[in-house]
């Protein structure tokens, strides 16, 4: 029996971002360290795919609660999703031990930040922010997260009974149950109370910028040394070969070579991929502040004195124009074999 009630809150877009089932698997490890514990799933709005409830059950969810409202605006907005969550919480948590702390986990995103912080505020719970790790110690929720642009890790203990937190799912969410072993139930909660009118939103289409950098397992990033937007096409090809995301440093964003949503650094995204391929990036502290401290860096730069080599695990002093296409070709050849 877990010391804490653990819930994952799935919001629209989570599957694209990295997998609702992956979030659930990460939550199961948190629920009882070393022995996957009981985790309930709350799905807000229409699931990204019809089979999501079954996926969550197969990934080990003890129950799945589908929360809907006919007046939910599309695309979804944080304010309405927050209202939906608050309306559904009593029903979604009715079978849980009331004398135990509860932890509500979201897959990290700006929308999740907004909902988690708002829900914590409205329920008198603790908002833990974007956590690198969460543990349950003596029925208390203890979280670690970075501060000072990634230069410091802080371990926080929640003083409130209940907590809302965001994490980056690190598990694949592969099925752990099948057939009769799946005993969890799916419930539906249809909220009928009036929702606040959505904010009026209009959209101007732009070329898709591909996979989100903040949740990718591999990030290929270019800097001033790339020299122009054409070079980012080659970096994009390398990112595709690695099933990763394309990113850029501030100078590349300022030059208009990559969109600001793909910027990595103190003034951009904070990324924690498995590996970060830095091409034509000198490695200023401002840029490194956007890269998680445990990330392996592969540096390619024609300047042997570039600071990035002091931070990288593996380095290549060469012209990226020659090396990057060759790396892509080798990876593609390896994939074929």
């Amino acid at each position: 029996m877990s010391d804490v009630n653990v819930f994952v809150v799935i919001i629209p877009g989570d599957d694209q971002a990295g997998g609702a089932a992956g979030l659930l698997a990460s939550a199961r490890r948190i629920a009882t360290a070393g022995m996957p514990g009981i985790v309930h799933a709350i799905v807000l709005g229409s699931p990204d795919e019809a089979a999501m409830p079954q996926k969550l059950l197969a990934a080990g969810a003890s129950s799945v609660c589908l929360v809907s409202h006919e007046s939910l605006a599309q695309p979804v907005q944080g304010g309405q999703l927050l209202e939906l969550l608050l309306a559904a919480l009593p029903g979604a948590t009715r079978d849980c031990a009331k004398d135990k702390p509860s932890l509500f986990l979201f897959a990290a995103s700006s929308l999740a930040d907004e909902i988690a912080a708002g829900a914590a505020f409205r329920t008198g719970a603790t908002a833990l922010g974007r956590c690198a790790n969460i543990q349950i110690q003596d029925e208390r929720i203890v979280a670690s997260r970075v501060a000072f642009g990634g230069r410091i890790k802080v371990v926080l203990s929640a003083l409130a009974m209940h907590c809302f937190a965001c994490i980056r799912p690190t598990d694949t969410g592969a099925p752990v149950l099948a057939g009769d072993a799946i005993v969890g139930q799916v419930r539906e909660i249809t909220c009928t109370g009036a929702l606040t009118a959505p904010l009026t939103a209009t959209f101007e289409a732009q070329p898709a910028s591909g996979r989100r950098v903040d949740l990718a397992k591999v990030v290929v990033s270019g800097g001033r040394g790339i020299g122009g937007p054409e070079g980012f096409e080659q970096l994009g090809a390398l990112a595709s070969a690695l099933d990763g995301a394309l990113a850029g440093s501030l100078p590349a964003v300022d030059a208009g070579w990559v969109p600001v949503t793909s910027q990595v650094g103190q003034s951009g995204n904070y990324v924690t991929p498995l590996v970060y391929v830095a091409v034509g990036i000198s490695g200023t502290l401002q840029h490194l502040a956007g890269i998680g401290p445990n990330v392996r860096i592969v540096a390619i730069n024609n300047d042997p004195e570039a600071h990035i080599f002091q931070e990288a695990q593996i380095g290549v002093v060469a012209d990226w124009r020659a090396v990057v296409p060759l790396i892509t070709a080798h990876l593609q050849a390896e994939a074929v074999n």
Binding site: T126, S157, A201
Partner: protein
């Protein structure tokens, strides 16, 4: 009176300082006052967007609130150089900075402009060195206002405000009436202008005081986290393995490294 805008900024420790030089104690309480605070890119975006609105309408009331855990008034003077209509320096204890919700409760009353609530409250998407996105939505909750996240530009459209933000495949324009809280993210369009030199000099001559706020009963009851430990992060100790050889040999070595790493993960 025109639009009332409140901009909250917190500043960040200069990024040139490494973890061990920041002086943050193991319990998170202490901080080296020698480490200067600077405006973060998100603070700058919030200020610049407010200045653009004032450029378009001289009747805009621009109030800036500078929250810091340092008595160093450099940050306050940096903001003062943009000549806001009113400016307040607020000294916040560092344990409150660790708790974004408590900080939002404490700072919400400071957004009042000349006895009237602000129509538009702007804050960087991360508020200082301790926040990672909790403060701005918490402030919206504390004020009871709608919230727009990660805006890059703001303009007035009649009685409405229009917030422009960039999504992965579209630009989104959100139109709403005041009051509203928005978190700002940096973009090429909101890079902070340089202040006029005469205003920089005037700001240096003016008294600048960081004053503590009286801690409210509500804040005392809402403080929700305690700091257990602070750990300086080092990326790794081993030196970089430099790959030599021909370009093809270098490329093959990198491809092998990446392939091994990703296969091990699978």
């Amino acid at each position: 009176m025109g639009l009332r805008i409140a901009v909250l900024v917190a500043g960040i420790a200069d990024v040139k300082w490494r973890a061990m030089e920041l002086g943050v104690a193991l319990d998170g309480a202490a901080h080296d006052p020698a480490v200067a605070r600077k405006l973060s890119p998100f603070d700058e975006a919030a200020i610049e967007c407010a200045l653009k609105l004032r450029d378009a309408d001289a009747s805009v009331h621009l109030r800036c609130i500078v929250a810091s855990d340092s008595v160093d008034a450099g940050l306050l003077r940096a903001v003062s150089a943009y000549r806001p209509t009113s400016l307040q320096g607020v000294l916040i204890s560092q344990d409150t900075f660790w708790d974004a919700q408590a900080l939002a409760i404490e700072l919400a009353p400071t957004t009042v402009c000349e006895s009237s609530p602000a129509d538009l409250v702007l804050v960087g998407r991360e508020f200082g060195d301790f926040d990672d996105g909790v403060f701005a939505p918490s402030l919206a909750q504390a004020l009871g206002h709608p919230f727009v996240a990660l805006a890059q530009e703001i303009r007035c459209a009649g009685n409405d405000l229009v917030f422009v933000r960039e999504l992965s495949n579209a630009r989104e324009c959100i139109q709403t009436q005041a009051p509203v809280v928005a978190s700002m993210t940096n973009a090429k369009s909101n890079r902070l202008r340089y202040p006029l030199m005469k205003n920089v000099m005037a700001a240096k001559r003016e008294p600048a005081l960081m004053s503590p706020l009286a801690e409210s009963q509500q804040l005392r009851t809402r403080r929700a986290v305690s700091v257990m430990a602070v750990i300086a992060k080092a990326r790794h100790d081993a030196p970089c393995r430099m790959v030599s050889g021909t370009e093809d040999e270098q490329a093959r070595a990198v491809a092998d490294f990446l392939g091994r790493l990703l296969n091990a993960e699978v």
